[in-house]
Every structure is written in structure tokens, then in C-alpha cells.
Symmetry: C2
Subunit: 154 residues, 2 copies
DNA sequence: GTACAACTTGAAGTTGACTTCAAGTCAAGA
DNA sequence: TCTTGACTTGAAGTCAACTTCAAGTTGTAC
């Protein structure tokens, strides 16, 4: 076993595609040295970074957020288990929030199905912010969009 | 109150932007008649369709799926409450599945933070399919990607 | 030394769900 | 009638996270 890996070896071991690895390197999420001929060689420690990236992606973080998280790792020494644990601890809250939002949506759906309304005036499911209806009720069903591309301004 | 609405009235009442309404019409999700001059006029019943679309978007359906769902509505008569209820009932399962996936992820995260591993060989959080590790263990942590843009084909 | 798979680059393409733009037309109040 | 805001269209732009492509270079097994 050599102590550096080619891009295809790294791809096979990390589960990312080679083009994704090139993209991550270009974006500054991972690092690679080069051969004299210019080919990438990845240190094994990059596999751990990639594992972190994979996990963070599963949690729903954007690459920008992941990059920021990775920048919190110590530069002068090899990150320890405790370092990795520290920067991933906040995911727990994020997941709890996401689960909570989905549960509120599901419960709202139950009542909507019960009444069959789907009314813009009354149904919180389709009108989370009570845009049209009674503005006195402060109840906001979904404080922010659950799925990224679903909110419009105007 | 007139019985048809302009695009900006419809936008205000539905919460969608005017450009989104044009887009939905072009994609065949909603319908509009025209004035002699060519301007759109929306029947009030379209507001209910739009309420459905808004709710379905919150549940995470794509426009394509929503279009398919809407095509199940009866064409020859005005949809009843029961019609709307019927086609939105399946959302419940979808939400349950999504919630379940997130909960499994959260619980996996807890054990990962506990051990601090984040190892490609051992950690199911970053290596959901056990690509590198022991292939004997049939346990698959996340059977499919939770967040759309996170899977690559080799 | 040769073959050939694996690698390199920059540029362009992909996806979904819109938004923005430019240039022109319509509707309605005074 | 005039004005002006609302409306129309098609085309192009946006976003993230990559993938695909073309054309050329490198590494290595024989």
C-alpha cells in the first residue's frame, strides 16, 4: 500500500466520482499534491475529509457550509477525533429542526385531509403564512421553506 | 368582486409570483382564459388548484409529480373536497418516510459523535452503503439519498 | 520503446423551478 | 383622448453541484 492515492483510487474509496473530487479540489474543500507530470495524488488523510463531506452532504449542508466547517479544523496539526466530533455536533440540532418541521407539516396535513378544505383562506398547509386570511392570528405554520425551491418573493 | 382575476390579483391571493403563474400555465398545471387583448384571466377555481400546488410543493413534490396528481382530478365536473383529499392522502406516507430517514440519520449521527470515528471503513454516517467495508453486513444505513443532489455515479 | 489506460485542462452542458429582461401592447381612470 | 400601470412574449439568466466533452499528456506494464 502506497501512502498516496490516485484520483481513481480515491474515488473508489470515498464513493465520490473523480469529477466531483476535481470539483472539490477546485473549490478548496480538499487538497492534493501533484506528480512531476501534473497528476493528482491524494494523501490518505483526505479520505477522512471526504468522509466528513459525505456525512455533511447527507445531513443537507451545502458545500459552502461544509467548507466553512472544515476551515475550523486546526491547520497546524492533524485533526483528532475530538476535532471532527466538535464540528459535526451542530448537525444534531439541524436534524432535529428538520424533523420538527416535517412533523408539523404532517400533522397539519392530517387536519387538512380531515376537513378536505385545502382552502387558501383557512388551510395552513397551503397557506403557511396566512397571507390572505386573518392577519390577527400570529400562528405561522412553517416559518421557513422546507424544500429550497419553493418560495417566491413579490 | 368579479368572477375572474388578473394575474396580479391571482398572484396576491395565491402567494405565487406572476412569473411563476405564467410558468405554471406554460407547463400545464393551471389554466387561464384570455381577454380580447390577450391578457390572462384566472377563474377562482384556479386558486384551489394553486393551493394544492403550494401544499404539494411544501411536501416536496416536483412540478412533474404535481402535474400528474392534478391529472387525476375529474375533468367533467368541479372537483369536490373528496377529490382533493384523495389525491393528497399519499403525502402522508411520503412525509412519514422522510421523517423516518432523518431520524435514522440523526441516531446514526449520535453514535458517530459518540465514537468520533467518521471513518470510511466503519462509520455508516459517511459510508451509508458500506462501500469499502465488510460487505457481509447487509445493514444499509440510508437506502437512498435524503437530499437530491448528493449521489454520484462513479 | 510502445501501447494504452488513466490522467490533465478549460469550457460547456445538465437539472428544476423559476426570474429577469427588453420591447412592445392593453385596460382603465381622469 | 391621454396617460400610465399592468400586462404580453420569447429569450436568456440564475442557482448548486456537479457531469460531459474534446483534445492533449502521463504513467506503467510488457
Amino acid at each position: 500500500m502506497e501512502d498516496v492515492l490516485t484520483i481513481s483510487e480515491t474515488a473508489a474509496r470515498s464513493g465520490f466520482s473523480a469529477s466531483a473530487l476535481r470539483y472539490y479540489e477546485r473549490e478548496g474543500l480538499i487538497d492534493a499534491s501533484r506528480t512531476q507530470g501534473g497528476q493528482r495524488r491524494f494523501r490518505r488523510s483526505e479520505l477522512r475529509r471526504l468522509a466528513f463531506i459525505a456525512a455533511a452532504r447527507h445531513v443537507g449542508l451545502t458545500l459552502e457550509e461544509i467548507k466553512e466547517a472544515l476551515s475550523l479544523l486546526p491547520a497546524e496539526r492533524t485533526p483528532t477525533k475530538a476535532d471532527w466530533t466538535r464540528i459535526s455536533r451542530s448537525w444534531r440540532h439541524r436534524l432535529d429542526d428538520e424533523i420538527g418541521a416535517l412533523e408539523r407539516l404532517r400533522d397539519g396535513l392530517d387536519s387538512c385531509i380531515g376537513c378536505g378544505c385545502l382552502s387558501l383562506q383557512r388551510c395552513r398547509l397551503s397557506n403557511p403564512n396566512d397571507i390572505v386570511a386573518d392577519r390577527g392570528s400570529g400562528a405561522v405554520f412553517l416559518p421557513e421553506p422546507l424544500h429550497p425551491p419553493s418560495v417566491e418573493r413579490q
